[in-house]
């Protein structure tokens, strides 16, 4: 078990290294291949060649790619120094780099945004798990009846409607027309928990709607499969009440496969919910992803990619550990 976790963590590090390498390669090599110059992104439109050279030297763009990558890794582990003009600024480990576009260190920039994404993802996750699983179980138990059809139709809508549509429509209705909710935005939990919740309510619901739809369908399918298992028949043959058959024997194994899906969904959401964040003006990691890509801001792109990859591999690991905890048949090795 311990060896397993250590080995998996080692794999996590390797995965993240590969992710940085690939991202690094893409954003440093591609401009070279297309003949464009990243240095140009940092300068004004009328900068002359000398200025460009200066930028290149300062950003280390004239170093070979492996040197640049080495410096990046060094920053991650021990931090690195940046020439900021009058003096150097030290970017402490883990130094994800320094965005020259916005003149900030990447790590604090991302850490600053993390609570937003965290609040959004966790809140929505709670909603969609409760809503999706509940609806799925009802649907499975009422298979073929009206409740089942209503749930499945709603789920189809949830899966099909894009978030910026549901998001903007719901904002238009609840924030501007009815005025029940404040216009979307983010208020820090520490500042005002109530406003934090009311402000996030709409994004939560919108995001949860999308996922709940998938979960309802999954839960329904899993529950139907589980309820046809031999051991459910055994439970009934023992004389168990139907609610215990479903509640105790059915749910436990019916919902286990959801752990995997949930873990990966939450993991990738923690890396940023791009559409939801932009639709609701939430400055989370997803919005950072979008902005940084639009601005070709490599250090931030690298940072968010690493963050996202980190959450996903960790989610994977947690899922596997959880799975082993829930299903005694699974042995970790």
């Amino acid at each position: 078990m311990f060896a397993y976790v250590v080995r998996r963590l080692f794999n996590v590090v390797i995965t993240l290294l590969v992710v940085t390498m690939v991202t690094f390669g893409v954003f440093f090599l591609v401009p070279k291949l297309t003949g464009s110059d990243p240095a140009l992104l940092y300068v004004g439109k009328t900068a002359d060649a000398a200025a460009l050279d200066g930028i290149r030297t300062k950003l280390g763009l004239d170093d070979p790619i492996y040197v640049q990558y080495g410096k990046f890794l060094q920053g991650l582990v021990v931090g690195r120094d940046y020439d900021a003009g009058p003096d150097t600024t030290h970017c402490a480990a883990p130094c994800f780099g320094y965005s020259f576009k916005t003149d900030q260190e990447v790590w604090p920039y991302l850490i600053d945004r993390l609570p937003v994404t965290l609040s959004l993802a966790l809140g929505a996750a709670i909603l969609w798990v409760i809503g999706g699983v509940g609806a799925g179980v009802i649907s499975a138990l009422r298979k073929g009846r009206a409740a089942d059809r209503i749930v499945m139709t709603t789920a189809l809508a949830g899966v099909s409607l894009p978030i910026y549509f549901t998001g903007l429509v719901s904002a238009a209705i609840f924030c501007y027309w009815l005025g029940w909710l404040p216009p979307p935005g983010y208020v820090d939990f520490a500042v005002n928990p109530l406003e934090w919740a009311t402000n996030l309510l709409l994004p939560w619901i919108t995001l949860a709607f999308l996922f709940a739809a998938t979960y309802a369908r999954l839960t329904r399918a899993n529950m139907l499969e589980t309820l046809s298992e031999d051991y459910i028949r055994t439970a009934r043959a023992k004389g168990l009440r139907e609610r215990d058959v479903v509640g105790k024997h059915g749910l436990r194994s019916g919902l286990t496969p959801l752990i995997t899906v949930f873990g990966l969904d939450l993991g990738s959401l923690l890396g940023g919910a791009i559409l939801t964040e932009t639709t609701f003006n939430l400055r989370g990691l997803g919005e950072a992803t979008l902005t940084s890509i639009r601005q070709n801001d490599l250090p931030i792109i690298l940072g968010v990619t690493l963050f996202a990859a980190f959450f996903i591999v960790i989610a994977n690991l947690v899922v596997d550990l959880l799975y082993a905890a829930v299903d005694p048949r699974v042995r970790l090795s």
Partner: protein, 578 residues
Amino acid sequence: MVAATAALALSVTAACGGGGGTDSSNGGAKNAQNAALTGVLNASDKKGGTLELWSSQDVDSLDPARGYYAFVWNLNRLYTRTLVAYDAKPGADGMKLVPDLAGAEGVLSNDGKTYTYTLRDGLKFDDGTPITSKDVKYGIERIFAQDVVPGGPVYLMEQLDQGQKYEGPYKDSDPNKLGLKSVLTPDDKTIVFNLAAPYADFPYLLAMPGAGPVPVARDTGAQYGSKPAASGPYKIESYEPGKIIKWTRNEFWDATTDPLRKALPDAINMTITTNADDMDQRLMAGTADLDAAQTGVQAAARTKILQDETLKANSDTPTTGFIRYAAMSTAVAPFDNIDCRKAVILASDPTSLQTARGGPVAGGDIGVNMLPPNIPGSEPAYDPYGRAQGKPQVDAAKAALAACGKPEGFSTVIAVRNNKPAEVKTAEALQAALKAVNIDAKIDQIDGAQASSLQGAPDNVHAKGYGLIISGWAADYPSGAGYLQPLVDSRYILKNGNFNFAEIKDPSIDALFDQAKTVDPAAAAALYTQINHKVMEGAYILPFVTDKALNYRNPRLTNVYIHQFWGMYDFQALGVSS
């Protein structure tokens, strides 16, 4: 200024009720659409309140030396004073420079090569330290450190380096970091600029935020933008990139030293949103005051405003100073032949190009020549190719093609930035119009973020055969040189970041620019008129539109007027009534 353009265009309709226009305050011009273009609306001196600016785009930098977006220069007026500045008046008056930090206009001497300015008394930064001429010089020196604080315009560098190869104050061996030789500060109140040659537009360069004072003690180099020293009535209280900028009063600012600024609100916020449609909703609901980027409302809100008289009365459609155009590369055949260039101009459909830009209200007026209306010397009626009538001239175009020796037409490539939807649409409109005269234009959508090395690299342009290059341009300073020189002066052809897309190499044009530098503004304006004529006669550039933007203003705003230089509301003049 190649400035802020549309951010993420989430053009999804989110129609819903917003607050209508409420009663307008008394005083000044009567509230109506475009009332703020000509006069001061809701004129008031009432102080207090918080001005709520919004923007769907973050600032490029709050460092005066690094900002290049138009609205950021406008915002700079809140906290950065310069030796001279654009007057705070609507209409053409706003185009004039008036003394700001300086007590009077600069004294010209040495055959027009030396400018001497004397600072006012009692000027102070927001920490109470006095503003000296050395701070102004230091601020200008920072522009030279393009490796540390890049991003802003470098005109001053070009004028002041004069072969010194000054690398900026961070690599300056002078103990006071004041090693730039062409600028002298004989005392704390006097600053002397020694130019290599007469340059009439020089004061315009001094009005750019980058020429504002920076105290060496507070310079944090690349990080300076997060907390720049304030010389204006407001200081930056906090800046959270991508989220919000907050200004509060600079208590060391003395109104008696500043004839320009009103400083009415107690605080100013600029909230950055990711959702432009949502911002429009807030504007119309009255919970936001102004879109700071001033690039015009989204399509959904535009429809609404134009249909609702009350909302419409709260809107203005200023010209932004941009001309949208297609340049024809004289280095790419057959555009080395003037008749082939003329054929393109004549064959183009002015109306369809205007529609592609958003129509007469949100897009702009049909472009007829290459000087925008806010530049001295412009002639809005000068229409050498008869574009204003709005229709393509197929017969004339065919005649031109025949003269060019291509009666059967030819094929070429249009290079257009893929991140500018309106430009892509104009490319398609142009392509369609050219088809009528058998000019087969293929559209190449290039990576917009890399435009300066794709459109702006002549080698690449030649290699890819880009005959037509679609772009847009606004002046960094309101003179013919500020607008036209980078576009048409052969000495501005750069290997990278080139904007003389047509690669115009006309010595007579270059000579006119040189001549204009040495004469007074009125005489220079006449020279720029001539240059404009030469450019149009040479058929190098096909103007699409002179840009307009439909902007909405919260009726609670006081002292509202469009400043002609930016084609935007003058932020520093605004107050709030409730």
